[in-house]
């Protein structure tokens, strides 16, 4: 019987297989950041163990880094301690690090792909659940906990039970206004935040094949919000073209050998998935969340749902709690929800294409009065590229704040936070209670919806903007 993409990559990394034991898998690439690594290095030190493969390990700083005044000492002592601990650990153990201020610094899931380190058919891990992002390249990539970080540092392997596989097949053509973000939010609303649990998802079908690498990363990034540890997309021409010429992409004969291997990384026609979900691309629309988990979303044209309409008691209960926290009432049209803050950034939507999409809408328009818009590139390289294209000028002219690269307002761990009760439209991936700051209220949106929302001051799509543009484009 044929094998799925996930099964092929898995099989190619089995170091040891024994009856009744999880497979021992080899890890090709281990990414580190300051939050989940200190205790792992602590463990190594206590046991007197070295890092086994420094050449497969790389670290960057992202969660705690400020996005303003980055040359000044970091004010928050705890953030500073975490960054200093990472620097000391990397120096002590010899790990390559891209600290704040370095040209390769950025959100770990933006940095790996842009360096060309994330490649098809590799296993990629990081102490961070959004490691699923890297699956966009046909890599088997998943988040791990800190004790697993220590395990990989010490052994370059992980003992793992093989998950089941689920195909998410998206056929047809995405309507004009519908982005990868809308698609993944719709998928999560459909299968639920636990729907992918125990599975590796494979996104496939004609609509997926047409997507850019950036869009594919947005989708795989949020696999974890559907409960799946990993999401994958088979590598193809789009993938190879993205990788060619990047710093760590193979060259010459190695490139040819790599491509020959990568081309085998497709689910066989006779392979069988453990589950399958089929989605018609044409039926989709811009999608936003109204609740406090990423599955609580609806098309922008809809209204806040009535909790009483849920048959399942725990879903009803969750919806009630969410509306209370979010300060929303059932039946309120989503388009009439006003926001205080718009955040464009994160490992979900902080790449160059996302900034281009948001800038195209902001160009010649103004951020609405009383709304604060933060644009935070996912990495320094993305920032430099954006500046080269003049996108920073577009955002600044529109009244948005152009910031330094980092996780920023994706989570409340650095100075960029919502105040209690403040409401944001955010291109990040989690709308959990307090995620963007204590008491903050988050609506997850695409970069396009974020930009239109910034202009109009309420949740909106670009289609709502038809005459708001002033001719003074930059």
């Amino acid at each position: 019987m044929g094998r799925t993409l996930a099964e092929k990559v898995w099989d190619d990394h089995v170091v040891r297989r024994a009856e009744g034991e999880p497979d021992l898998l080899f890890i090709d690439l281990h990414l580190l950041h300051e939050v989940t690594s200190p205790q792992a290095f602590d463990g190594l030190r206590q046991a007197g163990r070295p890092v086994r493969r420094l050449d497969l390990t790389i670290a960057t700083e992202d969660h705690n880094t400020p996005t303003l005044d980055i040359d000044k000492p970091i004010a928050d002592p705890v953030s500073r301690a975490q960054l200093e601990t990472l620097r000391k650990n990397c120096a002590d153990f010899g790990v390559r690090l891209h600290p704040l201020g370095d040209v390769e610094q950025g959100v770990v899931h933006v940095v790996g792909p842009q360096l060309g380190l994330t490649q098809p058919g590799t296993t990629v891990v990081c102490g961070d659940s959004h490691t699923s992002t890297h699956g966009a390249f046909g890599a088997l990539a998943f988040g791990i906990g800190t004790s697993q970080v220590e395990h990989v540092l010490a052994t370059q392997t992980l003992p793992l039970a093989r998950p089941k596989t689920m195909a998410i097949t998206v056929e047809g053509e995405l309507p004009d206004s519908v982005t990868a973000k809308d698609l993944i939010l719709a998928i999560i609303a459909r299968i639920g935040t636990g729907g992918g649990q125990g599975y590796i998802l494979e996104y496939r079908g004609s609509a997926i094949e047409k997507l850019s690498m950036e869009a594919r990363m947005t989708i795989c990034n949020m696999s974890i919000e559907a409960g799946a540890r990993a999401g994958m997309i088979a590598p193809d021409r789009t993938t190879f073209d993205y990788l060619r010429g990047r710093d760590h992409a193979p060259e010459g004969e190695d490139w040819d050998a790599a491509v020959a291997y990568w081309e085998t990384l497709r689910t066989d026609d006779d392979a069988v998935f453990d589950a399958e979900v089929v989605i018609e691309a044409a039926g989709l629309a811009p999608f936003v969340t109204w609740g406090t988990n990423p599955g609580q979303g609806a098309p922008l044209s809809a209204s806040v749902p009535d909790p009483a309409s849920y048959e399942d008691a725990s879903e009803r209960n969750a919806a009630e709690k969410a509306l209370e926290y979010m300060g929303l009432t059932a039946g309120q049209p989503l388009r009439e929800i006003n926001v205080d803050t718009v955040f464009v950034g994160s490992c979900t939507n902080g790449r160059i294409e996302d900034l281009r999409n948001a800038a195209a809408i902001m160009d010649g328009r103004q951020v609405a009065d009383g709304v604060r818009m933060l644009v935070v590139p996912g990495s320094v390289r993305v920032a430099l590229q954006a500046v080269e294209e003049g996108l920073d000028k577009v955002f600044k002219a529109a009244g948005a704040e152009w910031r330094h690269a980092g996780c920023s307002m994706c989570l409340g761990m650095n100075p960029d936070q919502l105040a209690p009760g403040e409401r944001s439209a955010s291109t990040s991936n989690r709308n959990f209670e307090g995620r963007q700051g204590k008491g903050g209220r988050t609506h997850l949106v695409s970069p396009q919806v974020a930009a239109a929302t910034a202009v109009l001051g309420h949740l909106a799509s670009p289609a709502d903007l038809s005459d708001a543009r002033t001719p003074a484009g930059v």
Partner: protein, 197 residues
């Protein structure tokens, strides 16, 4: 890590579903660089309410958490497990756990037990009515026992064996060092490297 054979203790009934790791330990606690001292961050937001079940005097010293479905969703932070352990929990019972949380818990010696929601309901009713009621989680017999409740649970043999013996993962893996070296020797040259070896 500490071996887990059987544990008996009083319980905290937590009637909430979809408790994500941000709720278990909020992000700002992740700044610590040690493995201990997370107990005060456990369910921090909810603990501001003095009526929150964990704050009730009769729950003091309880060591068994009986939670709603989909416990531990969201971020992969292992601190969620440490916070539960630092607080004094030895085991968490739920009808469904998020994968990463479950993996993290078993690796750290916090036994996560999956039981049918019906059994969870029974445990909730029992321990709400009588906060002194004890719950026993017996890993050797793979059984949860409480007044009026006898429920078998499953746990894969390997995870069970390691918990019973308190074996640490890394030393186990390093017993297979020759296999790792053999795999490394045949890895294709085109695979990426972060630095020249």
């Amino acid at each position: 890590m500490e071996a887990f054979t059987a544990h008996t203790g009083r319980a905290v009934p937590l009637r909430r579903s979809n408790v994500d790791t941000d709720q278990i330990i909020p992000a700002h606690w992740l700044k610590k660089v040690t493995r201990d001292g997370f107990e005060d961050g456990l369910f921090e937001a909810w603990r501001k309410d003095e009526n929150f079940v964990l704050n009730r005097p009769e729950r003091k010293g309880a060591s068994v958490l009986v939670a709603g479905p989909d416990f531990g969703t969201g971020s992969s932070r292992e601190h969620a497990v440490w916070a539960l352990q630092n607080f004094g929990f030895k085991t968490v019972i739920s009808s469904r756990f998020a994968d990463i949380f479950r993996g993290n818990s078993l690796k750290n010696g916090l036994l996560t037990v999956v039981l049918d929601q019906q059994v969870i309901d029974a445990l909730w009713e029992l321990t709400e009515a009588d906060p002194t009621a004890e719950v026993t989680v017996d890993l050797e017999k793979r059984q949860v026992l409480a007044e009026g409740v006898t429920a078998d649970f499953e746990l894969d043999e390997n995870a069970r064996w390691r918990l019973l013996n308190g074996l640490d993962d890394i030393s186990l893996t390093l017993q297979n060092e020759p296999d790792i070296a053999a795999y490394e020797a045949t890895r294709p040259a085109h695979k990426p490297r972060t630095v020249q070896a």
